[in-house]
Symmetry: C2
Subunit: 211 residues, 2 copies
Amino acid sequence: MEKLQEERIRTRNIRRILDAATEVFARKGFDGTRITEIAEASGLPKANVYYYFGSKDDIYRAAIARLIQGWDEALEEIALEKDPAEAFTRYVTAKLRFSHQHPTESRLFANEILRGAEFLTEQERKHIRDVTNYRVAVIEAWIAAGKIVRVDARHLLIMLWAATQFYADFQPVVRDALGNRNLESADFDAAARCIADTILAGLIPRDPEPI
Amino acid sequence: MEKLQEERIRTRNIRRILDAATEVFARKGFDGTRITEIAEASGLPKANVYYYFGSKDDIYRAAIARLIQGWDEALEEIALEKDPAEAFTRYVTAKLRFSHQHPTESRLFANEILRGAEFLTEQERKHIRDVTNYRVAVIEAWIAAGKIVRVDARHLLIMLWAATQFYADFQPVVRDALGNRNLESADFDAAARCIADTILAGLIPRDPEPI
DNA sequence: GTCTATAGGTAGATAGAC
DNA sequence: GTCTATCTACCTATAGAC
């Protein structure tokens, strides 16, 4: 009974701390973040933050790990069986929706990369490489089957990632570019449509010549 | 004679400080940067940094201002007269080349945006908006003339910016995605080609119906 | 589990000799 | 213009009462 209660408090507080930490780390980076600010944002006293995490490093690592896990669950597949146009559209839409709903996580990741990706574990980096390699194989199979034009699969993936990530990470710029207003769901839909109209349209062969 | 000598020393030291500051700010953000680190990276004692700049804020603002000036000079125009495909190719190539040669400036800008763009002056933001609006007008004129397909011009510009910026700001990710090696000029050429093969190819009308 | 107090270190910024 | 010494404030992390 009391054990369960304690466990619930523990889980809730850890989540609060990581939510707050993600936001502050994303904005100010690792070195610029003060534990006091995380504590204030989480609504807990500073000493309680240290009760759950041994150091600033620990909090940072936990926030990064949680973020990568979330991405994985949300964006698992470009499946081989699917039609390329449908698969790309699904992927872009899912990623833009995720960027819209979780901009903070995305920005934390961006900050970690700007920092030089020193805190990403070798396991996490290998995982990113594996996912990329799998998708490259899928795209190259589509090219071999004549379903899409011949492009560099790796650069294509980078481009899709870049286009979708930008909407989460560079919101002040996006706002200015769209006319100085807050971003709504409709803007992310318009972004998805624009990506579909250009990148995806350019991928479909004009003179289809299947092998 | 001595005046000139002093002026040269002054100019050289200010440049050294701003170079060092750009690098450290880009990596650690404003709050994470220590003046001591800027001093060490510039090869000058900390007190000399304070001789040239009154505060950390001053150094940061100067670095941002220099960066925007540099971008402006390097990336002035998508000109209206030009053929769309050629204009886009020129723009993408110029921006990728700039990203390759000045990744640090690009990352500093990214960090400032992640921070919430609080240090960008209203003048600087207005300038960015003006440049965007001008290019939007150009693209919409091309659409009206039937030279490219009907797309949202603002999202198209964001997409081009995103794709090119990514190569400067997210180099660790790009490296992993391309197979864990250092980036060379050839990679930026391949990126330009991929963008041309997809985005630009998708823009050219299939059934041209000029108005 | 929660919170106050504080140790020990380092930050931004300045004073003033050379 | 250059540099050492230093002030004040704040940071991470911990000790220990409740």
